[in-house]
């Protein structure tokens, strides 16, 4: 494993922006810290800030481990990252619009047509359909890691239903509750206004002519892993949290069933995959969706956020083309780095990947949540051989990347404080403008040496501080 960038220390000395924290921490007694950590766990459990674990007994809920050492980013670093995020998300939205309209980027020969039209996430139903403000990915979660000597890389773009923003907000609330004195020492950019920004953003993309749009959040239900977040955002925005069964289509409009009769719905922030949205159009066995929704959507009488078919742009086989998209649509050089990526669908790249499995990270192109991936250096020979067979059987289903030495941040573990690898997911909102709150969700891999930060795989979270000076 290569050496990694330490967020807090450089050559054994504390980095400038962590100095005040470090001096505070060293003044705390271990008992106080232990008490605060137990308090945090108890509060999360009581408040029910949990996620459901799939594959376990139905309805099993777990608290995501919360670490009290914040992840601190300087104002200067954030400025660069923010500019890069705006640029990237703008290009991605233009790409999706292009794909579902003129396909100029394909005609220009930059993206091979089979990459798009044979992609399971491409939705022919969206071809030629206009959506409000030409925005498709209204809410994007861009996963960023710091690697090597400290450069930021985009690891993946999440343009379908990215989750985690509620933990970003709850982590901040928790830190302020447990350690208010720290916020006197640091000028930390606030994030609490995210729900307001989100609501403004959703209202701004209402169907044409609707002046006072009714916004709802659509959830698959309380057994979904991110249900807490759905309920949380609905409450924070003051909008209804609906399930498919609460909605129906009548006379080319979507309504919700209320105790006072049907009420028209204009914008649906749906936290449910394309496949389940409308049993008449997609999966007929879906009981989560709304029959007829697609046809109302296609005629522009309801907005879905995110749009149908955004998956064509966030799948890992499209990821390598994002820098070219930025150049093509914006005539700008990409600000954020992409990780070098081998596409197993290409014969020569496949050979390289198979010859170097023990060095690489291999991912399914449609995978998410850390499921179905191989981290070569961390796997046994048998696991690698097993995975090799899966790649050979369906090479087009995989991409590979070098095992990045993700940066690490000091983290409380059983043995005390130790460095653990982290990433960062900022949440980028697109509507009439592109906006975001400073920072995002920092996830941390709690196992020593582990690079998998997903909460479904035992990862934890940290409060993320963007400093204002």
């Amino acid at each position: 494993m290569p050496t990694f960038f330490d967020e807090m220390y450089a050559d054994g000395t504390v980095r400038d922006h962590y100095r005040a924290f470090e001096s505070w921490l060293s003044a705390q007694s271990p008992e106080d810290i232990a008490r605060k950590r137990a308090e945090a766990d108890l509060i999360f459990r009581r408040v029910g800030i949990t996620f459901a674990v799939y594959g376990n007994e139905a309805g099993t809920e777990r608290v995501i481990p919360f670490d009290i050492v914040p992840r601190i980013i300087t104002a200067r670093e954030w400025e660069g990252m923010q500019a890069g995020l705006v640029q990237r998300v703008q290009a991605l939205n233009m790409f999706i619009h292009d794909i579902y309209h003129d396909q100029n980027i394909v005609k220009a020969g930059l993206v091979p047509p089979e990459q798009i039209f044979r992609n399971a996430q491409y939705r022919p139903e969206m071809q030629g359909i206009s959506v409000a403000s030409d925005i498709y990915a209204h809410i994007a979660g861009i996963d960023i890691v710091r690697a090597g000597q400290g450069d930021f890389y985009v690891l993946e773009d999440n343009l379908r239903v990215p989750s985690g923003v509620s933990y970003m907000l709850e982590d901040r609330k928790m830190m302020m509750r447990l350690f208010p004195e720290l916020f006197a020492r640091y000028s930390v950019a606030p994030v609490e206004h995210y729900p307001d920004m989100l609501l403004d953003n959703l209202r701004s993309v209402a169907p044409l002519g609707v002046t006072d749009p009714t916004v709802v959040i659509m959830t698959p239900g309380m057994y979904n892993s991110a249900y807490f977040e759905h309920a949380f955002l609905a409450q924070q925005m003051g909008v209804e949290l609906v399930e498919g069964q609460d909605l129906f289509v009548n006379d080319n409009a979507v309504y919700m069933r209320t105790t006072r009769g049907p009420k028209r719905v204009d914008v649906i922030y749906r936290r449910i995959d394309d496949d389940y949205l409308d049993p008449l159009a997609f999966r007929a066995d879906s009981t989560l969706g709304v029959p007829g929704l697609l046809s109302v959507y296609r005629s522009g009488r309801v907005t879905l956020a995110n749009a149908i078919g955004t998956g064509v742009a966030d799948d890992k086989s499209i990821y390598p083309f994002v820098p070219d998209m930025i150049r093509f649509y914006l005539s700008e050089e990409p600000i954020l780095n992409n990780v070098p990526t081998w596409q197993c669908r290409k014969q020569d790249e496949l050979s390289y990947v198979l010859a170097n499995l023990s060095q690489l990270v291999v991912k399914e192109v449609h995978g998410a949540g850390g499921y179905g991936m191989l981290v070569g250096p961390a796997c046994s020979k048998a696991e690698i051989e097993n995975f090799r067979q899966r790649i050979i059987a369906r090479p087009e289903n995989y991409i590979a990347q070098p095992t990045l030495a993700l940066s690490a941040c000091p983290t409380f573990v059983d043995a005390g404080i130790a460095p653990r690898h982290i990433d960062l997911r900022p949440f980028v909102l697109s509507g009439k403008t592109i906006s975001m709150v400073p920072g995002g969700l920092t996830r941390v891999a709690l196992q020593a040496g582990s690079l998998v930060v997903n909460s479904s795989q035992g990862g934890g979270t940290k409060d993320t501080w963007i400093l204002e000076n």
């Binding site: 459990r45 408040v47 609906v242 609460d246 209320t258 105790t259 006072r260 009769g261």
Partner: protein, 318 residues
């Protein structure tokens, strides 16, 4: 408000109330079990408890005979059926979780903490001291009602919660009365003769205590405890918070608040039931036969619940 949201709120309240009433009923039986009684009477007490909750069949499948120990376990911790206290508290919490955004943080946390603490209570308290466990259930129910009333905006959400609480309570009080009176009527003979008067006193006093009405009885009647007065108190007194009359008053009040467009017929249905209790004489009811009356009442409360569902909670598809 979304119909489904109202439905979850309604059932959240019903399950909380049901857990409390089940605890009250079981506690009543544990308490009367401490009095001298024939084994047959003791066993009948537990059989009655099962039949009040319509659980005799499910119980018989699992256990060869009716014993205090098995009935308690079955009705408290067995989650294979929906009526145990553990199932009710879980269902209340699941319903709350489904609409946690509609509840105040305090209400949600109260129900969630009840659920989180339940296992501990079952493991550490229930076996050694059932009475203490039942007290805990009652207190959690008091707390969740108080927190609801004390923190929630007085809008539809609160009205549907209250509607659930009082419909459930009307049902539960009627069931307790029905079974106990029926039992007393049928089995007046097998009590020890020489103790008859005393026995009656303890029997009715225990029932009053089970609905927190013993002191109220003393205050209201200042006289010996008679079955007629017990019935009067638990059915017709408007100021006794667990009486049928008081429950229906609340049902009508909350129904009136939500029945703006839909539900006018349901409101009329509830109003009629309420008026009957309001103007009834206990002598007339007893003459007609208490069991017959309560059976009819339970049917109408059930129908009322169905109508509320149909009008507000699970409206038919357009």
């Amino acid at each position: 408000m979304l119909s489904r949201t109202a439905d979850h709120l309604f059932w959240m309240a019903r399950y909380t109330e049901r857990a409390e009433n089940t605890a009250r009923m079981l506690d009543l039986n544990v308490q009367t079990g401490l009095l001298p009684q024939t084994p047959a009477a003791a066993k009948r007490g537990w059989c009655n408890t099962l039949s009040i909750s319509e659980l005799q069949g499910a119980y018989d499948v699992k256990y060869p005979e009716v014993t205090a120990h098995d009935v308690l376990n079955f009705m408290v911790r067995d989650t294979s059926h929906a009526s145990s206290i553990a199932s009710c508290l879980r269902a209340a919490r699941e319903n709350a979780r489904a609409v946690r955004g509609t509840l105040t943080t305090e209400v949600w946390e109260t129900l969630n903490i009840t659920w989180l603490e339940m296992q501990n209570q079952l493991d550490r308290v229930f076996d050694s001291d059932p009475g203490k466990f039942f007290e805990w259930v009652r207190h959690r129910s008091h707390l969740s009602r108080g927190v609801t009333f004390g923190t929630m905006l007085q809008d539809e959400a609160l009205y549907f919660i209250r509607l659930g609480t009082f419909l459930e309570r009307a049902d539960n009080t009627a069931r307790i009365l029905d079974v106990k009176f029926h039992d007393a009527e049928r089995n007046a003979d097998d009590r020890p003769r020489n103790h008859e008067h005393q026995q009656d006193f303890y029997y009715w006093a225990a029932i009053l205590r089970s609905v927190s009405a013993f002191e109220i009885y003393r205050k209201v009647y200042r006289d010996a405890i008679t079955p007629e007065r017990v019935a009067d108190l638990l059915m017709l007194r408007s100021d006794m918070p667990r009486s049928l009359h008081a429950c229906l008053s609340e049902v009508v009040r909350n129904l009136r608040a939500v029945a703006v467009d839909a539900g006018r017929d349901t409101l009329r249905f509830a109003g009629k039931l309420h008026a009957e209790l309001k103007f009834a004489h206990i002598e007339d009811i007893l003459e007609q036969g208490l069991h017959a009356y309560l059976t009819g009442f339970l049917e109408r409360v059930y129908e009322l619940g169905n109508r509320v569902s149909r009008d507000f909670l699970v409206p038919a598809a357009e």
